[in-house]
């Protein structure tokens, strides 16, 4: 019984979006337009939810002196500094908020993911084994792409970039298309299950 209202909301909103697609006239256009605008507001609340949760987790770590609790104030101070500068000075280019973003958040964000370059090399060395003919085919395809993507490939043999272009346009497209069509079928099935209330896991467990 407690799920009747949420499931009804899912059904109504889902049907509005589907009908809005096939019947872009009134009243479905009005309903669809307003639902889409309201969606942006409600989705924004998820950001606050995540941030409040972040604060709760780190305050708890400090209070109970859990592992690495000494770094939690760093997270909270970083959060507060961005909030204060953003609210006081705004987000215009050149403001303190923008300066902190460009000089600190941007390099840190870029560096975090650039660490993967090292790990992908290490993982490829340790784990990429041509243990059967299909793995060898995968490896050959990878090598062709890696050579074809860089100028050295055309320096070694001018046909390598052409082979790479063909590989991406034909076998890669075929494989990716098969995955895409299959995934699309899955999305349709899952969406229908959610809209009609068969799939309810997103509503959480019993409480």
């Amino acid at each position: 019984m407690r799920l009747v209202i949420p499931l009804s909301i899912t059904l109504i909103t889902g049907l509005i979006m589907i009908l809005n697609y096939f019947v872009p006239h009134e009243p479905f256009r009005f309903l669809g337009d307003n639902l889409q605008e309201w969606y942006m507001i409600v989705a924004s609340a998820a950001i606050f939810l995540g941030t409040i949760n972040l604060v709760q987790v780190h305050v708890r770590k400090i209070r109970l002196k859990l592992t690495n609790w000494r770094y939690s104030p760093v997270t909270l101070v970083g959060l507060v500094i961005m909030l204060v500068t953003g609210l006081i000075y705004g987000v215009v280019e050149g403001a303190p908020f923008d300066f902190l973003f460009q000089s600190m958040v941007v390099p840190m964000g870029a560096t975090m993911f650039s660490l993967l370059a090292f790990f992908v090399a290490s993982a490829a060395f340790r784990a990429f084994r041509a243990s059967n003919w299909r793995a060898t085919l995968l490896l050959t395809s990878a090598f062709l792409v890696m050579l074809g993507q860089v100028p050295i490939g055309s320096m070694l043999w001018d046909k390598i970039p052409l082979a790479k272009v063909w590989l991406m346009a034909i076998p890669n497209t075929a494989g990716q298309r098969a995955v895409m069509i299959g995934a699309a079928m899955g999305v349709v099935a899952t969406s229908l299950r959610m809209i009609f209330g068969i799939e309810r896991s997103y509503l959480g467990g019993s409480d």
Binding site: Q102, F125, R129, F143, I152, N172
Partner: protein
């Protein structure tokens, strides 16, 4: 020999880290630049499409990425903005990711300043909105409903270049520089297939293979895939203009080449070690 193979197989990963670091830092330190020939790549298709747009058109440029993928996508952003400004095509910028709004602002103001573009006349930055695909669908009926003001809260009515823009169909092209979801697929689905707006893309190399089906069906007019795609676009923009700066992506092709060769060598050596040990009955 067997002991050598075993030692190679057990190589400390920090040795591999040093090799990768050297393969990137050394070519950059010595400013080695390889020529970057552009073949029949999807980046050329995008360049040709933009080149054919009439002067005075307006393009929607969506910065759908964050700092973690900036090294690949920011050079694309610079190259595309240079091309658009040189062709007298106006740019309306927006972002599906919050950091994209700031990263886009940096690119637009720098390129516009260097090429004489005026904010609110030749370009504007509408900023970030939540909602992904749902928000894009709303753009299809009214852009002003989604963006009543720009990133810096300047009202829609006070932006001269937006007077002729009411919905997505008023754009000659939408280009999404995308690092994931929401990004290119959302634009193709909601703007391209639903409203018939031409879609071009720039994406990380990780996601580039997945978007080739869209190129094959014509759902995308062209695409820059990874740093190579950015380098290709930079090369094409430079071909068409005298005195254009080299570009970060072209500079990155030399270390990219060396690093690829090093990784390929590591994979080959790893396999040799593996098979040698397997023959001896001691492979891991």
């Amino acid at each position: 020999m067997a002991r050598l193979m075993q030692r190679i197989g057990n190589l400390d990963r920090r040795v591999i880290f040093v090799l990768i670091a050297l393969s990137v830092f050394l070519p950059l330190s010595f400013r080695i630049v390889f020529p970057n020939p552009v073949g029949a790549e999807p980046s050329r298709q995008l360049y040709d499409y933009v080149e054919a747009l009439p002067a005075g058109s307006t393009v929607l440029l969506s910065f759908d990425y964050d700092p973690s993928t900036m090294p690949e996508l920011q050079p694309m952003a610079y190259a595309v903005c240079q091309h658009l400004f040189r062709r007298d095509i106006r740019i309306v910028a927006m972002a599906l990711w919050p950091q994209g709004a700031s990263l886009g602002q940096e690119v637009l103001s720098e390129v516009a300043d260097s090429l004489g573009g005026e904010q609110y006349v030749d370009w504007c930055n509408l900023g970030y909105k939540t909602g992904g695909g749902v928000m894009i669908v709303r753009l299809g009926s009214s852009i002003q409903a989604v963006f009543p003001a720009d990133k810096d809260n300047r009202p829609w009515a006070e932006i001269p270049m937006l007077r002729d823009i009411s919905s997505l169909t008023d754009f000659a092209l939408v280009i999404s520089l995308s690092a994931g979801d929401p990004g290119v697929p959302a634009w193709v689905m909601m703007a391209g297939d639903r409203f018939g707006v031409p879609i071009g893309g720039g994406c990380t190399a990780v996601s580039a293979p997945q978007f080739y089906p869209y190129l094959g069906t014509g759902q995308m007019v062209g695409m820059m895939g990874g740093l190579k795609g950015a380098a290709d676009y930079e090369s094409l923009v430079r071909e068409g203009t005298e005195g254009a700066p080299q570009g970060q992506a072209i500079e990155g092709m030399a270390p990219q080449s060396v690093a690829h060769l090093v990784i390929m060598l590591l994979i080959v050596v790893g396999n040799i070690s593996y098979f040698a040990q397997k023959r001896k009955g001691g492979a891991r």
